[in-house]
């Protein structure tokens, strides 16, 4: 019996690979709330869990059903979705919002330039997301395009489950009006994005 146990100890790995649940428990122990960053933020939702477990390559069927669920979080405003591109540019520039040292209730930015090229005038842009320069020029500003852009900014996970892009509307970062202004930045023919 003793020899059997010893044998087991030798052949079994010394530890099990940590699961998402283990990490969650660890983070609940190791983090504390600060400012608006409350502890519910270390609990993964379904999208985060599936994308972590699948290394951002979820099985197609599962992705489709979860994307459909995410689509339900988006409420599209009535009418024209093309807001003020000038305000949109300010929102795209600002990286403020949602951190533990951003005052709650203060309006946030979209951090768009952190990852995307937009206006050709801004040379300091990131490359994690695709370049959006000329976005509206190539696609026009029809109702379907407006809805797509609004929806994508509101909840990118409704279109691509494991997108790196935050769910800027669904997370409460941006208001519907701010998202409309970003739609303006991308689609308005007068916007520098479409120069």
């Amino acid at each position: 019996m003793k020899a059997g146990l010893l044998f087991l100890a030798v052949v079994l790995p010394a530890f099990a690979e940590p699961t998402g649940r283990d990490i969650e428990k660890l983070m609940q122990r190791d983090f504390h709330p600060r400012g608006q960053a409350t502890m519910d933020r270390v609990v993964q939702d379904g999208v985060q869990r599936v994308c972590t477990e699948s290394a951002n390559r979820p099985p197609a069927e599962l992705a489709k059903s979860l994307e459909a669920e995410q689509m339900k979080t988006i409420s599209f405003p009535e009418g024209n979705l093309v807001g003020d591109w000038k305000r949109g540019e300010d929102i795209a520039q600002s990286g403020r919002g949602m951190t533990w040292n951003d005052p709650a209730g203060q309006s946030a930015g979209g951090s768009c330039y952190n990852c995307h090229q937009l206006s050709p005038k801004e040379l300091s842009y990131g490359t994690i997301g695709p370049s959006l320069r000329g976005f509206g020029k190539m696609r026009g500003a029809g109702t379907d395009v407006q809805r797509y852009v609004y929806g994508k900014i509101y909840n990118a996970k409704a279109y691509n489950l494991c997108s790196q892009m935050p769910r800027l509307g669904a997370s409460g970062t941006l208001t519907p009006q701010q998202i409309k202004d970003l739609v303006g930045l991308l689609l308005d023919p007068a916007s520098p994005v479409n120069e």
């Binding site: 010394a14 530890f15 690979e17 940590p18 998402g20 283990d22 990490i23 660890l26 983070m27 122990r29 190791d30 983090f31 504390h32 709330p33 600060r34 960053a37 409350t38 502890m39 933020r41 270390v42 993964q44 999208v47 985060q48 994308c51 972590t52 290394a55 949602m98 951190t99 533990w100 040292n101 330039y113 952190n114 990852c115 040379l123 300091s124 842009y125 990131g126 490359t127 994690i128 996970k157 790196q164 935050p166 769910r167 997370s171 409460g172 970062t173």
Partner: protein
């Protein structure tokens, strides 16, 4: 004078292309490589290492950073590692905190009250880190990777690196996942790959030009989580140490060249 040079380097680069900016920063790095501002923190750290304080009114000079009590030569290059007396893996800052509470008899609350300083006043932890890390300069980085708890900790760090969480669904890999990507103008090292991890880890802790302050790896983890929009990690927590351990182990074998300079 130094501030002027920094300002000139940065203003000169504004409006230029990304490549030019990277070149400017490299030029600045070369310029200060001979006499880094980090040295000032090293001197301050030496004084703090030798200063008797806490209820027991003793210095940290008997602190065992893994090479025996008081041995500083090469100690940083061997961290993080498992410590039997604490039965856990510790990075430099966690170990220093351990010595402050055990040797000096200080409370955790008091010792962690101000772990991250600013341009006007560095923290005790930052200066100590500068002093201790400098004594591994030129040495091969060889964190503990063989004890079962070390292996377990590295795997934990790896899992944390890819764990998507927080208000914006980010993991470390969101920004540090693909080579050649940047946030604004900042290029981001892919820290789960040996080559970029080696280059990055060989220069921490570091003097940070943009904030004129000295920054440590615990600070780096803290500020990354802030930008990930999570709550705040506790100083020296298992989470932050596991991430530091994972990245350092990934970059093992690098020749330690710090404390360096950062953007």
């Amino acid at each position: 004078m130094r501030t002027l040079l920094i300002a000139a380097a940065l203003v000169g680069a504004a409006g230029a292309r990304a490549q030019d900016t990277a070149k400017e920063i490299q030029r600045y790095r070369d310029m200060v490589a001979e006499g880094s501002p980090a040295e000032l923190f090293e001197f301050e750290g030496e004084a703090l290492w030798k200063k008797a304080q806490g209820p027991k009114n003793v210095s940290l000079e008997r602190c065992d950073l893994g090479k025996g009590p008081g041995v500083l030569k090469g100690a940083y290059a061997g961290l993080p590692r498992y410590f039997k007396d604490a039965d856990r893996v510790m990075d430099l800052e966690t170990r220093l905190l351990h010595c402050m509470t055990t040797l000096q008899g200080r409370t955790r609350e008091e010792a962690t009250k101000r772990v991250f300083g600013n341009a006007d006043r560095p923290s005790e932890m930052e200066s100590l880190s500068a002093y201790i890390a400098a004594q591994s300069r030129g040495m091969k980085m060889a964190p503990g990777v063989s004890h079962p708890k070390e292996k377990q900790n590295i795997e934990l760090g790896r899992a944390l690196y890819f764990h998507r969480v927080g208000a914006w669904d980010f993991s470390c890999a969101t920004c540090h996942g693909d080579e050649g990507k940047r946030i604004r103008m900042q290029e981001l090292p892919v820290l789960y790959k040996p080559q970029p991890a080696r280059a990055a880890m060989a220069s921490w802790p570091a003097y940070r030009v943009s904030t004129s302050s000295f920054v440590t790896l615990q600070w780096r983890m803290n500020d990354c989580f802030r930008q990930m929009r999570t709550p705040e990690p506790n100083f020296g927590s298992e989470t932050t140490v596991a991430l530091i351990h994972f990245i350092t182990a990934t970059g093992a074998g690098a020749t330690y060249a710090g404390p360096g300079n950062k953007r």
